[in-house]
């Protein structure tokens, strides 16, 4: 693998670096620890600024408002964002997952209607896949939609809908042919969340926040033109979406992990273990170095995965190792952080003795969700076993 930047890539980097220098908001640190709801408006404004500068959705084709950036340029993008301490983007699912799905499977009219508003964060997106009885076994989902005078009429329920509370639109998978075999009767619809009959309820998670929701549908009417791909061929579209989720989603996470790691190293110089700074404790040094190396390997795996995406255009099932790697790594990392901080690790923001505003307590609890969301570790191992290694299906 050749990681040297070409003249074109250098030009891209310098241009981006200059733009970020002039535009990254200075007050992000004041907002960073705010609740998701409180900081969401801030992040939307930041994404709008990126969009206007031409830096949102850089991997997307030029005709849809992107830059047609190469995968190397995407790597540069995330590295420069990290260097500049830039805030993350608001419309995460729209940019990373739903936009690419519309680009791959949508009609020209759909691309024109939705894509630029995803980039500008004018319309926030969520994803309606899981249901109470369809988690890992997604194809068993029961939310149904019947075609009536040019509209699909939806009834059912989705769950674990991240950003449901903030979303203007939802990519939703529904059953349109109840008589067909499980995988054959599904269709993907683009749903306006303001449509009558859509009800979003908060779902409080173990961290105490309501990052995601339950969404109920009662006789919700979706115009037939909002079908993505072919009717009853939605499984293919949904799988495409999931591959994006698992394959390329890790790029942004890399920045967060690196930042957490660096912060923990910083803390290790002052927090004490056995009467001396944790940074001098032989066992903690081993554990910190292990985390540092694994975060580095996450970046290197990502780079290699990118080069595969660039060869084929879509992320392959190999993306499952990324998902498996980053989710389990974060759990190990958060535990090392807890160990290093000792009893202080458990303190939440409300405690006057808290370190970093309770982020370590939050991070530890939040990391339990990592091996469940976007396909459990067990599902990722099934995918690697069957689709990558060619072992017989286990289920």
């Amino acid at each position: 693998m050749d990681l040297n930047l070409t003249a074109e890539e250098l030009k891209f980097r310098d241009e981006l670096r200059a733009w970020l220098k002039g535009n990254v908001p200075k007050d992000w640190d004041n907002w960073r620890e705010e609740s998701l709801e409180a900081r969401f408006g801030y992040l939307k404004r930041w994404q709008r600024k990126l969009y206007e500068g031409g830096w949102a959705g850089i991997s997307w084709p030029k005709e849809y408002g992107g830059r047609g950036a190469s995968l190397m340029q995407q790597v540069i993008f995330w590295e420069e964002m990290a260097l500049a301490e830039a805030p993350p983007l608001a419309n995460v699912l729209g940019l990373g997952i739903i936009g690419p799905t519309i680009i791959a499977f949508g009609t020209e009219a759909q691309k024109k209607r939705y894509l630029s508003k995803i980039l500008s964060a004018e319309e926030i997106w969520c994803q309606g896949f899981s249901e109470p009885n369809a988690g890992s076994d997604l194809a068993s989902l029961q939310t149904e939609a019947r075609l009536e005078d040019g509209h699909y009429v939806m009834n059912g329920q989705k769950v674990w809908t991240s950003y449901g509370w903030a979303a203007d639109w939802c990519e939703v998978v529904v059953r349109t042919d109840p008589n067909a075999p499980q995988h054959k009767g599904l269709t993907v619809l683009l749903l306006d969340m303001k449509t009558p009959g859509v009800e979003v309820r908060p779902l409080r998670q173990m961290t105490g926040e309501t990052e995601f929701n339950e969404v109920f549908f009662r006789d919700v009417r979706v115009p037939a033109e909002n079908v993505v791909g072919q009717v009853n061929d939605g499984w293919k579209v949904a799988i495409g979406t999931l591959m994006h989720e698992r394959g390329t989603f890790g790029a942004g996470l890399q920045i967060i992990y690196k930042r957490n790691m660096n912060r923990l190293i910083e803390l290790s110089r002052t927090r004490k273990r056995n009467g001396r700074p944790a940074a001098q404790d032989p066992l903690m040094r081993q554990k910190l170095a292990q985390c540092y190396a694994e975060i580095e390997i996450m970046r290197l795996n990502q780079m290699r995965a990118f080069s595969r995406v660039s060869a084929t255009g879509v992320p392959g099932p190999e993306g499952s190792i990324q998902k498996l790697f980053w989710s389990e790594l974060n759990q190990r990392f958060q535990q090392v952080a807890q160990e290093l901080l000792g009893p202080f690790g458990q303190l939440e923001a409300a405690s006057p003795y808290t370190i970093d505003n309770g982020t370590w307590a939050y991070g530890y609890l939040r990391s339990r969700g990592n091996t469940i969301e976007a396909g459990t570790s067990e599902i990722q191992r099934n995918i690697i076993g069957h689709f990558v290694l060619g072992l017989p299906r286990s289920y």
């Binding site: 693998m1 050749d2 990681l3 040297n4 990290a82 260097l83 301490e85 920045i255 690196k258 930042r259 660096n262 912060r263 190293i265 910083e266 290790s268 110089r269 940074a279 032989p282 040094r285 081993q286 910190l288 170095a289 292990q290 540092y292 190396a293 694994e294 580095e296 390997i297 290197l300 795996n301 780079m303 290699r304 190999e318 190792i321 498996l324 790697f325 067990e378 990722q380 191992r381 099934n382 690697i384 076993g385 069957h386 990558v388 290694l389 060619g390 072992l391 017989p392 299906r393 286990s394 289920y395």
Partner: protein
């Protein structure tokens, strides 16, 4: 990669498992005919300058070649002579000495090795106790790879890096039979042996990093082969009327082997690249690669043998040959703990890291 594909074909054709098993039963695991074919391919001079008879390719190409050598479980002195001794000579020796010692290695006419460890088993050159006085070397080196077949022995001493002819007076070479049957270990005792100074131990760091990154790549190749053999077995071996690879307890272990193998490969490739480009994080990248591969090669082997059941425990099955190599490579040039401590020194102690430099 053309070089990688060619290397895979070459090793499959010239050194299949039958040949590996034949060579491992010999004293030195060295085969002159195979060696001269490797020299013809340019492998023995792959990264060295053309003025010394080398091919002048980069560290990335060396990493790819060694990955394939690892997949084939190539026996004999390629690592000790070309990678380790070659890189040390290239880094430490004078131009005249390179003509004398490196050029014959490149041409496939001579073999050398590096004697580093002593009873302290430290991979830090500064810990060497053996020293040279008045051009004479006295002391004992342990775990010296392929010493019995070497023409010269490079010695990391307290006061510099020296080279002695293997046939020089006062040298006693004895086998140290170890787990890895394909790469032989020796103790080498020097008693008032004439030695020529090559340079200072401080010049060794880069050469040892090249050897370490390359070894990590070789380990990734071994892991890949272990995974391939295991997946094939899991597809064909039936119990309870089904291929055992259908059971998630087996399949998920295969998935973990894949993750560990791919991650080792990513890290080794990057280390090779970083060394070639003299990237500021090259030393860290090398330790990341060796640290990860050292743990992963053992884990991948453990899983592979377990999935094979009783067959995995037999002499007849090839897995244990890879497993033996994995253990030897795990400790060579520093195990995972050694490299974690090195990462800690480079990352935590250097003070280079702060939350603002994410």
């Amino acid at each position: 990669m053309l070089l990688k594909d060619n290397a895979r074909k070459f090793f499959a054709g010239e050194c299949p498992m039958g040949e590996v098993r034949r060579l491992m039963e010999t004293d030195t695991a060295y085969d002159a005919a195979l060696w001269s074919k490797m020299a013809e391919q340019g492998y023995t001079g792959i990264i060295f300058p053309e003025e010394y008879g080398g091919v002048g390719l980069g560290k990335v190409e060396l990493v790819l070649l060694m990955e394939e050598a690892g997949r084939a479980l190539l026996p004999g002195p390629f690592f000790s002579s070309v990678v380790l001794a070659g890189a040390v000579l290239d880094a430490v020796a004078s131009s005249g000495q390179k003509k004398k010692y490196l050029a014959p290695i490149c041409r496939g006419e001579a073999r050398s090795t590096v004697a580093m460890l002593e009873a302290s088993a430290s991979w830090n050159p500064a810990d060497a106790q053996v020293s040279v006085a008045g051009g004479k070397l006295t002391g004992e080196k342990l775990f010296v790879l392929d010493a019995a077949g070497a023409d010269s022995i490079i010695v990391v001493a307290h006061n510099g890096v020296f080279i002695a002819a293997a046939k020089a007076a006062g040298i006693t070479i004895k086998a140290m039979p170890g787990m890895d049957l394909t790469r032989k270990l020796y103790s080498v005792e020097f008693n008032n042996t004439s030695a020529e100074k090559l340079g200072e131990t401080t010049a060794l760091a880069k050469a040892l990093d090249i050897a370490t990154a390359t070894l990590a790549a070789e380990m990734a190749g071994g892991m890949q082969r272990t995974l391939d053999i295991t997946v094939e077995y899991a597809k064909t071996r039936k119990q309870f009327g089904k291929p055992i690879g259908m059971f998630q307890a087996v399949q998920h272990q295969c998935a973990d082997m894949y993750l560990e193998t791919e991650s080792s490969r990513s890290a080794a490739y990057y280390a090779g690249w970083a060394l070639e480009e003299n990237a500021p994080d090259a030393a860290i990248a090398v330790s990341v690669a060796k640290m990860y591969a050292s743990d992963a090669c053992r884990t991948v082997g453990n899983r592979g043998i377990q999935i094979h059941g009783g067959m995995g425990f037999t002499w007849e099955n090839d897995l244990h040959l890879y497993y033996r190599r994995a253990k030897a490579s795990e400790t060579m040039l520093g195990d995972a703990s050694f490299h974690r401590e090195r990462i800690a020194r480079l990352v935590i102690d250097a003070g280079a890291v702060s939350a603002k430099s994410a």
